[in-house]
Symmetry: C2
Subunit: 321 residues, 2 copies
């Protein structure tokens, strides 16, 4: 069975929150965040010192269908950019004191075009899940998983549609910058994938047939974080689609996850709603790389800092209401 | 005339943004934030190293009307809490690397009850404006002004109503925790103040008659920041009401300000809409102390870090769309 938050730590954190020098509830969602974090960490007055960001990169055979505004060689070029510190996520990770690692998954061996065959063999999918599982630092106290993979909003849309139902058009968007014709083509590609693979009610089979290595790796990392009781901030549409595999396999499997932000990719808000997750930020990002979730690290740090650092009414000699 | 952003720096920042290794627009509001910041700082590739938070505290004669859930001695007790590091704003300022100073404004001499007399004499109001003006560090590169003052949501509601029109009920809320009867009483108190003082179209006179020392100090600090081209993050309802004095005195006077967050106090969203400011955060905070704006410092830091730190497509050898 999956680890659950420590109820005693949550209760003690809630009791502490009620004694802090502020009107009850005046820190809004920061209070819920701190109590949630305390429960998962098993500490009534937790610290948040070691946030970890991991970026997984993969290539997608489905780009042959013309579903991306960028050429597929950008995946490996961006991995080099991550490694040399030049991408957005490098700046954001540094800004919030997070470690950053990059895991490139067989970039010279794209997945199969899912309109023609399962994206991954069982062995490939298992290897990607395992790569994600292994990438989590057991000493981390907050995890962000991000991705890079030209074509992967198409895989995420197909996966979300398979997991959650609805029409392909509900789940496709502009990705890195498709025009209207490109979006319509993307919806047809998703429909073709769903028509070929019969994955209903088999979330991991949907991941294997329609997803990609970086999606499977994110699924594996998020599952691993649960076993370690490391809270997770979900990033955008692709990350959330990867997480949704776990939710569909087992309701409650994402209780250790919060939505760091809601992206401009229209399927993301829909997917978060289906998962019952209210995003912390809504700033119109649609970059991936874990960028929206990394930005939300600062919010969780602020929440934990207030909870664990503030004086109580008694300590400060402040009169209550 | 007021300083304006440096158009050349804005243009160069916009040109740089278009070359960074991301799809155009993919960082959403972070891109606009960075360009706005670059313009005000006059630097196409700015740094953000010295954020400053200043908290102003004042006491309010109008508390005699029973408009607060907390007793007035809490103002001075909370000032001591700020000074000893125990309040929410202490934790948030530390979290985002901001300096924090606290300016207590004649706490043993509350303003007059505005239902009976102008809250401040002209000399008192001028002294408070000046205290705010002086409190801004000319070396700061981002400013948050916050407040503490039992009763001051009532002053802010009266001020907002005088500046923006509408009914008192449009501008009053629960403050630190009033019940329905308390909110209704607060609306009557605001109506009484507006009935007594004839301040229409005289924003600084509205501030003097209905505001308070900490509000006037915030007004002065925000005006001073403009002369120094220091960008400002507005906090909650009280801070925004103080800022609105400048807007009403001169449209455009708040172009160097962004709304750090929208609070749970219902008048705040209304006031931000009237000022044309879309908040960066919406997390249900209603604490004051500059807390919501301090949390948003992290967002601006992230935006500036991405803008100034990312590689261009050419530098990184990444193919464009």
């Amino acid at each position: 069975s999956l680890p659950e938050p420590d109820a005693q730590a949550s209760d003690l954190a809630r009791a502490r929150d009620a004694q802090l020098t502020k009107p009850p509830g005046a820190l809004g969602r920061l209070e819920d965040l701190a109590i949630w974090y305390a429960g998962w960490r098993g500490q009534p007055r937790p610290r948040l010192d070691r946030p970890q960001v991991v970026i997984f990169a993969g290539n997608h055979g489905v780009v042959a269908q013309g579903v991306s505004a960028f050429p597929p060689e950008v995946t490996v070029q961006m991995v080099a950019n991550f490694q040399s510190g030049g991408a957005a996520i490098n700046q954001l990770a540094r800004c919030f004191g997070a470690t950053l690692s990059v895991v490139a998954l067989d970039l010279d061996r794209p997945t199969a075009d899912f309109t023609l065959a399962p994206a991954m063999t069982e062995a490939d999918c298992a290897a990607a899940l395992s790569a994600g599982w292994q990438a989590v630092d057991p000493q981390a106290d907050l995890l962000v998983v991000g991705e890079m993979g030209i074509g992967n909003t198409t895989s995420a849309a197909a996966l979300a549609c398979a997991l959650m139902g609805g029409a392909p058009a509900d789940w496709v968007g502009r990705g890195t910058g498709l025009d209207d014709a490109g979006v319509a083509r993307k919806a047809r590609v998703v429909a073709a994938g769903l028509g070929r693979h019969h994955v209903a009610a088999r979330p991991f089979e949907a991941l294997r047939c329609l997803g990609g290595r970086e999606l499977a790796a994110m699924t594996g990392a998020i599952a691993r974080a649960r076993t370690l009781r490391i809270p997770v901030l979900l990033d955008g549409f692709i990350c959330t689609a990867a997480a949704a595999v776990l939710h569909c396999a087992r309701p409650g499997a994402l209780d250790h996850c919060l939505a760091g932000h809601v992206s401009q990719e229209p399927g993301h808000a829909r997917l978060l709603e289906r998962l019952g997750k209210a995003p912390l930020l809504s700033l119109g990002l649609r970059l991936g790389e874990g960028s929206g979730a990394a930005l939300a690290i600062g919010i969780v740090q602020g929440a934990v800092a207030c909870h664990s650092g503030m004086a109580t009414f008694a300590e400060a000699g402040v009169a209550g209401a």
